[in-house]
Symmetry: C2
């Protein structure tokens, strides 16, 4: 995680870069993320990952213990990356409706641009969330988004704008469901209904739709 602890040699010398654990780990993780996202847990091949790596299969077992350990590390990093973006949201200056629209926009853009993350979450659900259940760090990370939405709802309710019978987690689910489905089910939905869900016009329309729907729902009394 740190800025590489490799020794003096790494300054300028290009070729003789040997024994760089941080880089090796990061390299494996990046390749593994692609492989797992593309083929799922059981479909991913350890040999295939090793082959596309700067290093060898031996290192996967050295650093991650095995296929499952590697998968878990990939999952943890994917969640951490996504939520780090959400955590940086600046909403205090906006009115409740504006803040809510900002959160929705962010979730939409996040899922849209992080296809690998969406696929990994789908895969983990196929696997019944068994690996994620053993990664307490992931839960921690995700509480932030609930806090953010909770704060917005409170402000909206205090102002007499929003209804008060919806919990933050339910609002989050409604937003996530739409943004996630749009990416996760792109293939089947697109193929069946002959629509390209990633086409700019429809993309824009959908973003407007989910924002209007959620805001409209909260304004209902």
């Amino acid at each position: 995680m740190s800025i590489s602890t490799s020794p003096r040699k790494a300054v300028a010398n290009e070729r003789s870069r040997t024994n760089d654990p941080d880089r090796t780990k990061a390299d494996i993780l990046a390749v593994a993320t692609e492989e797992f996202a593309a083929h799922g847990l059981s479909g991913a091949r350890v040999d295939a990952i090793a082959e596309r790596t700067r290093t060898s299969k031996r290192m996967i077992y050295y650093y991650f213990g095995g296929k499952d350990g590697l998968y878990l590390a990939v999952l943890e990093k994917a969640y951490a990356d996504i939520r780090a973006i959400e955590a940086a949201l600046e909403l205090d200056l906006l009115d409740p409706i504006g803040a809510l629209r900002r959160v929705i926009d962010q979730t939409f853009e996040n899922d849209d641009s992080h296809t690998d993350f969406v696929r990994l979450v789908s895969i983990e659900n196929i696997n019944q969330g068994k690996h994620l259940a053993e990664a307490p760090s992931i839960r921690q990370i995700n509480l932030r988004i609930i806090e953010i939405i909770g704060a917005i709802l409170e402000r909206g309710q205090a102002a007499g704008l929003f209804r008060s019978d919806l919990e933050p987690v339910d609002v989050h689910m409604m937003i996530s469901a739409f943004c996630f489905f749009r990416v996760a089910n792109r293939h089947t939905f697109g193929s069946i209904h002959r629509v390209d869900l990633s086409e700019p016009d429809r993309r824009q329309k959908h973003k407007q739709m989910i924002a209007d729907a959620v805001v409209g729902l909260l304004l209902q009394k």
Copy 2:
């Protein structure tokens, strides 16, 4: 597909039931549906399916050609079963809003009770919809739901109730996204936010939420 073409022998004799192709095929299909839904395409084991069947592995290859052929047959049957229910909806007597709520209710209940179907669709998306693309029958089946929603929207627009800038397929997606996500992402979402999405109270609340949101969205001008 017919009511079994087996001979006179099959009337009452319990034990000597031999050579019953329809039953053999249906048996394989049922077991395979469970196995694929549980472990995905690459995770499913042909040997495991064969073992839990009344018959042998040889019959899988005899009737379905191979693992891929079997998977495709499972997928087709899953879609057909779900959409057959939707096609039976009787909506002509209801006002547009009532009809829309009825469709949403139906979709919600369908996804909620057909976990295997939801999982298979997720799996097919992980597989980038490649198999579904080669199954024209599935597309045909799904057009029905779009027709239904299209008719409701037209009536609502004619009555001056609904906005007219949303296509049926977009409304369908909004409904599907919520109902599908609730089931497909049950494990990760539940584990992270410590909620049981299948608990009756929350279930009911969510059903109300998606209905209110979609109706509310359409009533916006």
